[in-house]
C-alpha cells in the first residue's frame, strides 16, 4: 500500500509549489501554521519590549531610556500582545488547524476568506511595525484614551488603523468558524458530541463577530477626531471622553473572554487526555463557555469605576462582574475533579495545564478584588491590576497556548520534542512568572500606579525583584521555543496518537493528510470515552 502523503507534501491548490504553495494556499492547516510562525514572531518582539520595560523599572530614575521611549514601549507591548498575540493566538493557529479536524471535515467553510484573514493580519502587523519608525511610536497605552490620544503628536492614527485591520481579520475568522461548525460538522456529530475545544472556539467566534465591530467603529472615530476634529469625544469641542471609554470597553472587555475561552478549551482537552478520563461535567463545561460569552459581554464598565460614571452604573456592573466569575469557577472545579481517579501521565502539556490552573485561579480570584466596587477604587490603575490581568492573560491564555503547542506539536509536525528541555523551560517560565508578578500585587496594594516610568522610594524593592523574574521568564520562553524548533529537524517521528486521545485529530496521521482523514472517521456518542484507549494500552503506561 502506498503511504499517504501529509499536507506538507500536498499543496492545495495543487498548481502552486514552493513558497507560493504556502502564500496562496487555502488549506486550513497550512494557514494555521503560517499564523503560528508570524504570531510567534510578534510574541517574541513584544516579550522583549516587556522585558525592556521591567529592566528600566528595576532602578529609580533613568536606567535605560527616557519617559518617551518607556511610554512607547508599554503601548507597543500592549498593542502587540493584545491584538497580535493573545486575541488571534489560539483561534487562528489551533482553531484553524484543529477545529475542522475535530468536527470531522476537510476544511473551513470559506477557505479563501481564511487566507484573506491571514493577509489582513499581516497588513495590521506591518502597520503596527511602521509606527515604530515613522512619526514617533504611539504613547497612549493600548487603550487609546481620549482626549490624550486625540491631542498627542505621535503616530496614533496608524496604530489605531492597525488595530482596526486586525479587528477585521479577527471578525472574518469568527464568521468562518461559526459557519464551519454549523455547516461542515460531520452529520453524525450532534452539538453535545463536539469536543470542548471546538465548543470554546465556537463561543469565542460569536463574541468576535458581535463585539469587534464596536471597537472597529470606535477606532475609526478616533481617526476622524484627529484629522477632522468632529468633537465626539473631545470635551474642548463639547464631546464626552467617557463615551469613548464605554465604546472601547464594550469591545475590549468581551475581548478578554475572546482571549481566555479558547485557552479554557485547550485545558479541557489536555487534562482529559492525560488523566485518561472523561471531562467532569461535559454539559456544564460547554454551557459555561456560552455563559461566559454572554455575561462577559455585559460587564465592560467595571473598568470605569473611577471614571466619573454614575453610582448606579457601578452597582450594576459590579454585580454582573461577580456573576461572570461563577462559570469560570465551575470550569476550574471541573478540571480538578477530572483528575480524580484518573490515570494521570505527566507530560509537558499537562505540566503547563496544571500551572495554568494555578495561575489562572490567582488571576480569577484577584479579579474578585478588582470587581468589588470599593476595593477596586484603591487598586484601580495600579500595579495590582497589571499583575491581575497578567495572571489571567499570560498565566491563563499564555500558558494554555504553551500547553496547546506541546499538546498538538506532534500532530502538526509529526515530530516529538525533547521532554527534559520542555520541563526545564516550563519550570523557568513559571518560577520567573511568580517572581515577576507577585511583587506587583504588593506594589499595587501599596499604591504604585501603572504606566509609571519612575516611582517613589517606597516601591524600590518590589520593582527590583520583579526585574529578576522577568529575566528568568525570558530565558525559559526562549528555551521552550528553541526546543520546539530543534524538534522539527531532530525530533523522533510522532505516531498518530502519541498521547492516547479520543477526539478526531488523534484518529488521523501525524501530520494529517491534505483532506485530514484517510477514511471517514467514526463519531463517538460521547467525545471523551476512553474505554478503547485504556483497553489498547494494555496497562503498559500508555502510548508514550
Amino acid at each position: 500500500m502506498e503511504p499517504v502523503r501529509s499536507f506538507f507534501d500536498t499543496p492545495s491548490p495543487s498548481r502552486y509549489s514552493g513558497a507560493l504553495s504556502w502564500l496562496l494556499t487555502t488549506d486550513h492547516k497550512r494557514i494555521g501554521l503560517m499564523y503560528l510562525f508570524v504570531i510567534l514572531f510578534w510574541f517574541v518582539v513584544a516579550m522583549f519590549l516587556g522585558g525592556g520595560m521591567r529592566l528600566e523599572l528595576m532602578f529609580r530614575g533613568r536606567t535605560l531610556m527616557g519617559p518617551e521611549s518607556y511610554n512607547a514601549l508599554f503601548t507597543l507591548h500592549g498593542v502587540i500582545m493584545v491584538f497580535l498575540f493573545i486575541i488571534p493566538g489560539i483561534p487562528a493557529i489551533f482553531g484553524n488547524f484543529f477545529l475542522p479536524i475535530q468536527i470531522g471535515t476537510d476544511d473551513v467553510f470559506f477557505p479563501r476568506l481564511n487566507l484573506l484573514s491571514w493577509y489582513l493580519y499581516i497588513i495590521g502587523g506591518l502597520l503596527a511595525l511602521v509606527t515604530l519608525f515613522i512619526g514617533g511610536p504611539p504613547d497612549t497605552g493600548w487603550t487609546f484614551y481620549v482626549p490624550f490620544s486625540v491631542g498627542t503628536q505621535t503616530n496614533v492614527s496608524v496604530a489605531v488603523f492597525a488595530a482596526f485591520v486586525l479587528g477585521m481579520a479577527s471578525m472574518l475568522t469568527g464568521i468562518n468558524f461559526v459557519t464551519t461548525v454549523h455547516r461542515m460538522r460531520s452529520e453524525a456529530m450532534g452539538w453535545l458530541q463536539m469536543p470542548l475545544f471546538t465548543w470554546s472556539i465556537y463561543a469565542t467566534s460569536w463574541v468576535q463577530i458581535l463585539a469587534t465591530p464596536v471597537v472597529a467603529i470606535t477606532l475609526i472615530l478616533i481617526i476622524l477626531e484627529r484629522f477632522l476634529g468632529v468633537g465626539l469625544f473631545d470635551p474642548a469641542r463639547g464631546g464626552d471622553p467617557i463615551l469613548y471609554q464605554h465604546l472601547f470597553w464594550i469591545y475590549s472587555h468581551p475581548a478578554v473572554y475572546i482571549m481566555i475561552l479558547p485557552g479554557m478549551g485547550v485545558i479541557s482537552e489536555v487534562i482529559t487526555v492525560f488523566a485518561r478520563k472523561p471531562i467532569f461535567g461535559y454539559k456544564a463545561m460547554a454551557l459555561s463557555s456560552i455563559a461566559i460569552a454572554v455575561v462577559g459581554s455585559l460587564v465592560w464598565a467595571h473598568h470605569m469605576y473611577t471614571s466619573g460614571m454614575s453610582d448606579t452604573a457601578v452597582f450594576v456592573f459590579s454585580l454582573l462582574t461577580f456573576l461572570v466569575a461563577i462559570p469560570s469557577a465551575i470550569k476550574v472545579f471541573s478540571w480538578v475533579a477530572t483528575l480524580y481517579k484518573g490515570s494521570i501521565l505527566m507530560t509537558p502539556p499537562l505540566f503547563f495545564s496544571l500551572c495554568f490552573i494555578y495561575l489562572f485561579s490567582v488571576g480569577g480570584l484577584t479579579g474578585l478584588v478588582v470587581g468589588a466596587a470599593g476595593a477596586d477604587i484603591h487598586v484601580h490603575d495600579t500595579h495590582f491590576v497589571v499583575a491581575h490581568f497578567h495572571f489571567t492573560m499570560f498565566g491563563g491564555t499564555g500558558f494554555a497556548f504553551f500547553a496547546a503547542l506541546h499538546h498538538w506539536w506532534p500532530k502538526m509536525f509529526g515530530r516529538m520534542y525533547d521532554f527534559k528541555r520542555a520541563y526545564w523551560a516550563a519550570v523557568l517560565i513559571t518560577f520567573g512568572f511568580l517572581l515577576h508578578y507577585i511583587p506587583m500585587f504588593i506594589l499595587g496594594l501599596q499604591g504604585m500606579p501603572r504606566r509609571y516610568y519612575d516611582y517613589v522610594a517606597e516601591f524600590e524593592a518590589g520593582n527590583f525583584v520583579a526585574g529578576f523574574g522577568a529575566v528568568f521568564m525570558l530565558v525559559g520562553l526562549l528555551l521552550m521555543l528553541v526546543n520546539l524548533l530543534i524538534s522539527l529537524k531532530r525530533g523522533t517521528l510522532a505516531p498518530s496518537d502519541p498521547w492516547g486521545g479520543t477526539t478526531l485529530e488523534w484518529k488521523t496521521l501525524s501530520p494529517p493528510p491534505l483532506h485530514n482523514f484517510v477514511e471517514t472517521p467514526d463519531i463517538a456518542d460521547y467525545p471523551y470515552d476512553f474505554t478503547d484507549v485504556v483497553r489498547d494500552s494494555s496497562g503498559d503506561g500508555g502510548g508514550v
Binding site: T306, L445, G541
Partner: protein, 201 residues
C-alpha cells in the same frame, strides 16, 4: 469617626483576599494530591466518571453566595467613599499636564501640595484642564478621574497628622509618573496659619 470608609475598603479587601487565599490553597492542594495519588504508574486503570449533578450544583451555588457577599462588602465600601458627611470642607482641585492645583475656600492656591486640618472631613472637587488625569491618595483609599468639562469628587477623613503622597493614576503623557504631590494633615491652628500665609509667587 465610626464610618470612616478606609476601614470599609480594607474590610472588603481583607474579606475578598482572605477567601481567595483559602480557595487557591484548597484547589492547589487537591490538584497536586490527585496528580500524585492517581499517577499512571500507580493507577493504570482510570474510573469512568462523567459528572455528578449534586456536586456540580453545590459548587455553583456556594461560590455564587460567596461572590454575592463579596459584592455587598465592596458596594458598602464604595457607598462609604461616595457619601460625603455633612460639614465637609470643600477644596477645588484642578489637574493639568503635569501638576495639581488646589484652591482653598479663601481663594488661596497651592501646587502639588495639599494642606488640610485634622478632624474635618475634606471633599475635593476635581476637574481637568486638559487630558484625563486621576487623583489617587493611597493612604485614604480614594481615587477618581479628573475629566475636562466635568466635576468629580472624593472625600476623606483626616484622622491623623502627617504627610501622605498622592499620585496621578490616569496616563497623561511623559510627565505622568512625576505628577504627584504631598498631602499634609496639620492641626487646625496650623491650618489657619497656612491659609493666612501669603502665596509664595
Amino acid at each position: 469617626m465610626n464610618n470612616n470608609p478606609v476601614a470599609l475598603v480594607d474590610r472588603s479587601l481583607y474579606f475578598t483576599i482572605g477567601f481567595s487565599f483559602f480557595f487557591l490553597f484548597a484547589i492547589t492542594v487537591v490538584m497536586i494530591w490527585f496528580v500524585v495519588r492517581y499517577r499512571r504508574s500507580r493507577n493504570p486503570v482510570p474510573s469512568d466518571i462523567r459528572g455528578n449533578g449534586w456536586l456540580e450544583l453545590a459548587w455553583t451555588v456556594i461560590p455564587t453566595c460567596i461572590a454575592l457577599a463579596m459584592f455587598v462588602s465592596g458596594w458598602q465600601a464604595y457607598m462609604g467613599l461616595r457619601t460625603v458627611p455633612d460639614g465637609a470642607m470643600e477644596i477645588n482641585a484642578y489637574a493639568q499636564m503635569y501638576s495639581w492645583i488646589f484652591v482653598y475656600p479663601n481663594e488661596k492656591e497651592t501646587e502639588n501640595e495639599l494642606v488640610v486640618p485634622m478632624g474635618t472631613p475634606v471633599k475635593l472637587i476635581i476637574t481637568s484642564e486638559d487630558v484625563l488625569h486621576s487623583f489617587f491618595l493611597p493612604a485614604f483609599r480614594v481615587k477618581v478621574d479628573a475629566v475636562k468639562g466635568m466635576e468629580t469628587y472624593v472625600w476623606f477623613y483626616p484622622d491623623r497628622e502627617g504627610e501622605f503622597v498622592f499620585h496621578c493614576t490616569e496616563f497623561c503623557g511623559t510627565g505622568h509618573s512625576s505628577m504627584d504631590g504631598m498631602l499634609s494633615i496639620v492641626s487646625p491652628e496650623a491650618y489657619q496659619a497656612f491659609l493666612e500665609e501669603e502665596d509664595d509667587e
